[in-house]
Amino acid sequence: MSARAVRRMSFGQATVDAMRLAMREDERVFVLGEDISWGGNFGQFRGLVDEFGPERVIDMPISEAIIMAVAVGASVTGLRPVASMSFVEFTLGAMDEIVNQASKFRYMFGGQVSVPLVLRASDGILRSSAGQHSSSLEGLFTHLPGLKVVAPSNPADAKGLLRSAISDDDPVVYLENKRITAKRGPTPTGDHSVPLGSALIRRTGSDLTIVTYSAMVREAETACRRLAPRGIEAELIDLRSLVPLDLETVVGSVRKTGRVIIAHEAWEFGGFGAELAASITSHAFNRLRSAPVRVGAAQAPIPFSPPLERAVVPGAEEIVEAAERLMKP
């Protein structure tokens, strides 16, 4: 089947596709996590156990620390584990293994070993899942040397980035936003990969640049559609990969437009958007017409009640408002 053939499938199905391709191609790839032989909490592993069996699709006890530690032990002895953490908040129970072990092993041991593992975790809000099941934590992972971090926004990239993450020789945190996991989109049916570290300009525009990733890309697209009729042409950059970061594409666009909005679902204070704002400012200072504007969650745990959740987590509306403020003469 030609790599060009395309079919509409959900983000979740696209990741299953990528897993299947990787597991067929490479005996060393296996999956471990809670309830995954039942497809996982979001169907992101559906059907894998039928093709690859329980030896390569391992249902784990509720022991997040050991899920990660086992992934580390397997990866430094020749395998390529994909560890499922289900909700990203559960990675907090495995932080020692993720940070003190996985991210540091290669360096601390003088480069004698690689840690080729993928940590899959679902982040973001989904219909009032409340404080312990709605966070976006890329701000933690991107700060830590030794970890790569990707956050796809659509099924095609979900498939392509997961392929690259699994074949990458270093630990990759693969963040899949719950709100878009069930969303469908055109996806290459054949093999397909998207290199880590390459951002995509989803829409060109000359008035301002919107830098975002993951579920917020859809919100930004909506915002762009609303802004155009008001005479505001925004350039939309989907980072796709946060570490490594394609700063060149971002800075190139901002040097052109002179204005930038950085949007993510995560908390704004100390979030990844702060790093983006700081780097953009230092690389494009003399081209900036005004300070980078960040659109992110307000500084509160994610509340349960819908009106509160909406008040804390931004969407297209907040991006539109930010854009109009930016364009005010």
């Binding site: 039942w38 022991s63 050991i66 559960f90 129970g93 219909r127 009032s128 409340a130 009640s305 909406r310």
Partner: protein, 325 residues
Amino acid sequence: MKPPAPMSREAALRIHRTMVRIRLFETRVEELFKAGKLPGFVHTYLGQEAIAAGVCETLQSDDYITSTHRGHGHAIAKGIELDGIMAELYGKETGTCRGRGGSMHVADFSKGMLGANGIVAGGLGIAAGAALSARLRRTGQVVVAFFGDGGINKGTFHEALNFAAVQRLAVVYVCENNQYAQFTSRTRTTSVDDLSVRAGAYGIPGWTVDGNDAGAIHETTLRAVERARSGMGPTLLNMETYRLGGHYVGDAEVYRKAAEVDRHRLKDPLDRWERTLVGEKWITEEQRAGLWEQARSEVSDAVRFAEESPLPGGETALEAVFTGG
């Protein structure tokens, strides 16, 4: 230890009333969720009513409990009004947590209910801390930590039980062994079949109880609570039961056969307790019917209260992140 006094009729009836209220509350919650009235997702307590009811009957009102993602039953048994719980499930300002928490975070510290917890085994160490606090404050309070058979494999179980044992804390660890963790059978992820043996790793007693027998639950928990209150330290109780509902409302339950569930329905803890009460002549048919009727209207009142209550205003979203803030 001396055997505890036999259960009084009053205690037996209180347990019954609690079980009925939980059963009707959760049945209604299931309907409401399917009708799209409740945000988020809900885990019901159906089939495990005897545990929350039997255990909490042994506690004093100022004793503490820590709960789980499946916490409605614990909240009701510890004495939180149905209105506040239901309103919380609706995300209303009048909920126990002003709609900030929802089903997985129902709490009422004034009732000693230290919170449902969305993190599996999240309450085990918190319970130890509450027990340490009770000791330092010299209050004689006891703490019950509810958790599931899936939670027993979490590292925090180990750290908490070791510490509680070292300090001889007044905690009773109640494992609600309902055979499943989400979609996965206990037997596939847990290295021992009788979970009570894990008490041996800490030099504390571990007792297995029929988790569908309210009487046995009450009696055994009473012993554990007495041990705790008298400074003899923690106990691990393995209460064997079965989750009659799905993991959450809407669960397709592809991982188990309907026949298996039906088999367990025959052991329904509520039917069983009512047979006992009738057999003991502790309750007449009219009394039984009256109790159900009353509980039914309490639940309906709670639903009405919740539906008529206001949603929180978005402008209040940043309140209470910090104290005074």
